[in-house]
Each structure stands twice: as C-alpha cells, then as structure tokens.
Amino acid sequence: MAGSTLTTGPQLDRDPDERPPAMRPVEFARWTWRQLTSMRTALVLLFLLTLAAVPGSIVPQTGANPVRVEQFKAAHKVLGPWYDRLSLFNVYAAPWFAAIYLLLFVSLAGCVVPRSRAHLATLRSRPPDAPRHLDRMPESQRWTTDADAASVGAAAVRVLRDRRYRVEVRGDAISAEKGYLRETGNLVFHVALVLLLLGVGVGKLYGYKGSVLVVEGSGFANTVTSYDNFGSGAAFQDSDLTPFSLRLHRLDVRYQASGDQRGAPRDFEAHLTYRPDPDSRPRSYDLRVNHPLGIGGDKVFLLANGYAPVFTVRDSTGHVVFDGPVPFLPDRPQGGSEGVVKVPGAQPDQLGFSGLFMPTAALDLQLGPVSTYPDTRRPRVFLNAWYGDLGTDSGVPQSVYKLVTTHMTQIRNADGSPLAKALAPRQEMSLPDGRGSIRFDGVRRFATLQVSHDPGKPWALGAAALALVGLLLSLFVRRRRIWVRARTGAAGRTLVEVAGLSRTEGDGLADELSEIRAGLRLGEVGDDSGSGPAIGPADEED
C-alpha cells in the first residue's frame, strides 16, 4: 500500500515480515466506505436481502397469522424458542433484516451521491471533441459528395438537432451526444427507492390498523377501546383517530350452489350507515370486498364474516340472565363455527355453554356434526353445558371463544352421559336439576371490519411511480455519441465521415448512422437544387 511509505518512526522499527501497520481510524473509515459503496458489496447485500426474505414465507409470521405461530410453537418445543430468539416469527421487523436493508440503502446513497454530482457536471458539459480517426470507432461510414463541406456541416447540425442530439461544432468536425436521460432515470430510480422506504416508514410511524367484529343490528364507534385488535405506530396518538361511527344493518352473502367449487363465496355485501363525525347526518354505504369505505383519512374494509347465534338463557330463578347474539369462530369447513356462551350472572352457579353452529347441519358418523353448505339451509347449534366458576373475575384475561373449565363441572343427564343437544331455531334445552334453560332464538351474521390509516401511502405510491419512470428511462434510453467530419478532399469533392459510439448495450447504432447519412443526403439534394431550406422548416412544423 502507498500508505506504508508515510508511516512514522516507531512503525519503521518493525520487522518487515510483520503484517502491514494498522490503518488509522480515518483510513479505516475511508476504506470501509469504499468497500460498502462498491458495486460488489451492493450485489452481496442485494443477495442477502433476497435470502433474508425467504424464511418469512415459510415460517408462520406473527403479523400475518398469530394463531399459526402459536400452533407452530406448540408443535416444536425445541425449535420454537430458537426461532423466537432469531426473530423468525417476525422476519420483516427483525433487527438483522433491518440491518441488511439499511446497509443496502447506505451503500446505495454512497453510490448515488457521487454519481449525481458527476451526472450534473456531464449535463452542463458539451459533447467531447471528435477523435482524429473516426474510422476506428465501433461504427463508422464515409463517402464523398459534390456538396461543399460547409453545407454538409450545416445539414449535419440540422439533422442531428432534429434527432434530439446536443450538438457542438468545433472546426471541421461536429460532436453530438444524446441519451443523458438514461443516467438521470437511473439516479431517479434509486432516489425513488429511498423515498419509498421513507413513505413506508412514515406509514409505520403514524399509521394505525384495527379490526372489529360487528354483528348485524349493532354498531361501532372509532375509539381504541372499541377494537378487538388494534395496532399503531410509535408516533400515533389516540386523538389522531377519526371520530366516525357506523352501524351494520344487514350482511348479504351468496355462495356457489353447485359444481366442483360448491360453497365457494361469490358475493359479500354489508349494508351499513355511518357518520363521519358525531354531528353529521348518517349516510348509507354498501361495503364489499375491493370496495372499501373511505372516511376522512381512514378506510374501512370488509375482511371476513361469520355467524352469531342468538341465545336466551334463564337461570334457576327463571329470570333472563343472558339475551343476545354470540359470534362463533368460522373455523370449520362450509361455515361450520365454534363458540361459547358465558353467563356470569346466573344463579346459583355461573353457567357456560360450548357449542358448534352448523349453517346446513348433517351428522357424520366419524366427525359428528358437520356443515355441508355455508348458507343457512338447516341451521343447528350443538351445545354442551357447564356450571361453576367461569373465572372471568379472576383478572386473568381469557378468550371469548373458549370456556375455561378448570373450576367448572359439566352438566350431565340422569344416566351420567354429558348433556348434549342439537337445537333448531326457537328450540330450547332445559338444564337438569332446575338449573335453568337455554333457547336458540335464531342466527345473525357478523362482519369483521378492518379500519386502516396510513399517511405514508401517497408518498409510497408516488415514489413507486417515480421509480418505474426512472427504471424505464434507465433501461430504454440509448446513450450515444455521433461525430461528423466534412473536409474538402482530392478533386474538390467533399469527404464526409460519420462515426458513432454507443455507451449502452444493444445494437441499432449502425441503423442510426445510416439514417443520419440518409438525412444528410436529403439535405445535399436540397442544397443542390437551390431550394435547400424547403425541407428543414417543413420538418420542423411536424
């Protein structure tokens, strides 16, 4: 290294076989920077980022499907904790993932900034001088003509300008260059990627996303506490929520009735009314998949739907202690759903029911109750009953879809078999020992709505569009230089030389030269006939 000759005294005393002296911090920083911003490093980082994206598509991700993550952890006792430690359940928010893309963007900046400076200089510069030997260029043509050198030169300037070249006349030669937009596009593309990352970041910081289950006939007001799930960025404040409210009146669902896709959903439509703020009048909207409702900066989406059977529960005193719809989780084929009814107010003991809801019920000998079609052709609930302590007052949070039966006793028939009954709408099951009764009143549908707010979205979209434009320019604009030299040669005839240099891959340079030559010929003919200018202006009018 050249640096070793600049070393100071003490280092000179070293044994010559020893490794070269350590770099000083500044040198090391400069060396690191050069390595980081080299194309080779950029390629490696691109590869790393690509590889890093793979596990997130194979290992279940908390963000996309927390239930499957829990299932995975339950099934892999050894692997699970390790995956957790390596952030494999949350790859795209993992520190190592961020490290790669941040390094990549630093490398990108280190490449784009000097290149932008160089490109600015190029944009201000004039096309370079013509080489002495034009016939040594990758493409060249030469011919002689009777037109004089000056008029050939003038024609060449006109032809090249018409072809959008930047033209410079120096002596007997003309230099021309075009395609500056190629590098501009390249730089715009890379800058747009940085803007895209910023847009994503703004959305993550200031945005929020929540989902809520709304049963037909009930409503929702946009406050953090009304959501079933809510997530927001670090810079988000509760007061940022748009104060809208909505009410779900009816949910229409249509399914495929026959064929090999029988039961596949065909249409969902949620008929709702909403108020953008508490003071405005209600407006109606038919919410469908792909047709979100925009309120202020928020968007409301129809994500999923299911059934909420309606129950009336009476306790031993005969009083109604529960009355209303209970959403069941649609986690079985053809609309089959699971859920529980918790009745903490029942006397003398709290009551709990776990059950299945089948919209079109049938009994399978192996599987028990199943559904054969997702619409309500033969709706039935299948219930078991429990009494004791539901544990809802214990302070330990519990799922509304699960019954914690540790402190409960299953209610049994006189013969000791568990109490179980299939109920059609308006049918009732009475509990032994005068514990009360449960009535299946009917069924309503529920909609899972998602509300999202992402202030970075317009930025991200704009950046993506900019990136695409830059990409197109950088791939399809051709950067090339053309030189024309016209000299009076032997016998008073003019020797014309045209040469070209393409700075981009792909051919077409020879064609370009031939077209320029044809253009020059046209000009010469015009000059010869004495009506020279006729062609030029006519072209310009086009």
């Binding site: 390629l43 691109l46 959903p265 065909r266 979205k457």
Partner: protein, 325 residues
C-alpha cells in the same frame, strides 16, 4: 351459446391447440436436427446470387462449399421450420380461441384460478414468441419455447383443471385485469429470456471447449448474440414485472387495507424482482458479466416458478386462488 357449451368449446379448442403445438414442436426439433449450421445457411442467398452469374468458384472440385445434397437437405429442413411456424400460428389461434371462450363462458377475465392462469400464461409465451419472430430470426428457439408451453398446458388440463365459474369476491376488481395481465405478460417474456439464457450457456460452453457438440447448436447464433438477446428480454420484462408488483400493491391496499403485508405471494414476487435486479446490476459489473450473470437469471426464473407453483399450492396465504381441490 350457453355458458356450459362455451366452456366445453374452450376445452375442445385447448386440446386441439395442444395437438398442433406438439406437431409444431417436433417440426422445430427436426429442423434443428437436420438443418445445416446457421453461418453457412446465412451465406446461402449470396451463393444463389453468385450462381446466377456462373461464378467459377463453384466449379472447382473438392470445394468446401455445401454440396447439392446438403442444399437439398437444407431446403427440406428449412421447409420444416416454416411449417413449424405456420403450425405455431394455428395452435396460437386455437389456444386464443380457447382462452376467449373460457372468458365468455364465465363472463369475466379468464384468469381467476390456477388452471386459467396457466392457459393464459402459456398463451402469452407463444404470443410473445410469435411477435418476436416478426422482428428477429429466433426460429431456433421454437423447441425451447413450445416445450414449456406444452408442459404448462399438460399440467393445466390434468392436475389444475377447474370448472368455469364465477370469481370469489376478493378477485372481483378491475385490478384483476391490470395486475394479472402485467404479471402474465412479464412471465411470458421471462420464459423466453430463460430459454435464451439456457441456449447461451450451452453455446458458450461449446465455444470454450471447441468440440462442437451438441451439433444442433450450430443452428443457433453465437454465444455473444444469445447473451445480448437474453439480456434484452430480461430488460424488457423487468419494468413490466415492477409494474405488476406495484399494481398488486395498489390492489392489496384496496382489498385488504395494506399495500404490502409480506404474504408469501408478495414475498416471492419481491424475491423474483430482487434476483432480476441483481442480474441487471451484475451485467454492468466487471467480473460478473456472461456466465455468472446468466446463472443469476436462471435463479430468477426458478424463484418465479416457485412463486407460481409452490406458493399457489402449498404455502398458505391470502393469494390462495388456485381453486385446485
């Protein structure tokens, strides 16, 4: 015509197209097997011109120039090639009719499940091949383009077949037209770029070893030309793929409330995009040009295939529209 009979017509047309594709493929293969090298065949027109002028050069005994027997064989082979192209056009027409009648029978864009993605994607490959053929002599690629087309259609009619039905609500959007069309066109171009890359790698190896085998590669352009052609395809496909990803993000925002959620399909579209981006960068980096860059292009196509087959069928995500029971 009723929806069912249109769907039936679509299937009949598809099987007919496959039969014609198969014959066309054999014709391309025969031309490769029996034709004479490209360089000599390029000289043929000159020789004919000279022959009119009765040049003495061809009267010299033992001349290295192609014999009459060679010429007859050559013209037979080239006739086979022309037949192959005509058959490809015919098969393309039948295939297009099949896709069209499928769309009419369902009353929507005919790409709502994996069977339909496959038939339309294969149609895009043939279509792009035919368009390219009007501009450049790429008949040599015929075998390598029709083979994947036929394989795709074979998988479509056997494993992936789904009856013509309406769409699930998530797919009912104008973005189905925009996003999926862009993805299908990009994949068609990438498929041809892939075929050219393979040809380049074989040709390049041949040129380095200099033993001339396999002999049929004589019919192909030299390695540098193949490399440039493959690059051109990839550079053409990359912005379209970029657009498909952006359009997909806009659609995802409209359907699911977020424009990017690292769903397996999105992740693999990103991976494919990245790999082709690496390819484009590698081509402008010293030490990576040529074979190394080409291997990256092959990896890119592999990730694309993985996204299409594995993600659709095995990795659970929001893009589960395969409709394969």
């Amino acid at each position: 015509m009723s929806s069912e009979s249109l769907a039936g017509l679509s299937n009949d047309l598809l099987y007919s197209a496959m039969a014609v594709y198969a014959v066309a493929m054999y014709c391309y293969a025969a031309e490769l097997a029996f034709g004479t090298p490209r360089r000599r065949s390029a000289e043929l027109p000159d020789r004919e011109l000279v022959a009119v002028g009765a040049s003495p050069a061809y009267d010299v005994p033992g001349s290295t120039v192609a014999t009459d027997e060679d010429a007859t064989r050559q013209s037979k082979a080239s006739r086979l090639g022309r037949v192959a192209v005509s058959l490809t056009v015919l098969a393309f027409a039948l295939h297009a009719g099949s896709v069209l009648s499928r769309g009419l029978s369902a009353g929507r864009a005919p790409w709502g499940n994996m069977f339909e993605f496959s038939t339309t994607g294969a149609l895009a490959v043939t279509g792009i091949f035919l368009i390219l053929m009007t501009r450049r002599d790429i008949r040599y690629l015929g075998l390598f383009v029709l083979a994947p087309v036929l394989l795709t259609l074979g998988a479509a009619v056997t494993v992936l077949y789904t009856e013509s039905e309406q769409l699930v609500p998530a797919l009912k959007s104008v973005w189905l037209l925009i996003h999926v069309t862009a993805a299908i066109i990009a994949s068609g171009i990438l498929t041809i770029g892939f075929a050219q890359t393979i040809c380049f790698l074989v040709q390049d190896r041949r040129e380095h070893r200099g033993d001339g085998s396999p002999a049929f590669m004589d019919r192909f352009p030299d390695a540098a030309t193949l490399d440039r052609a493959a690059y051109r395809m990839h550079a053409f496909a990359f912005p379209i793929w970029t657009f498909a990803v952006i359009a997909g993000a806009i659609w995802a925002e409209n359907a699911w409330g977020r424009y990017w959620g690292w769903d397996p399909k999105e992740t693999w579209a990103f991976i494919t995009w990245m790999v082709y981006a690496i390819y484009l960068h590698a081509r402008s980096t010293t030490g990576w040009r040529g074979r190394k860059a080409s291997y990256i292009a092959l990896i890119g196509y592999t990730t694309f295939l993985f996204n299409y087959v594995a993600v659709n069928l095995w990795l659970n995500g929001l893009h589960s529209y395969a409709g394969v029971g």
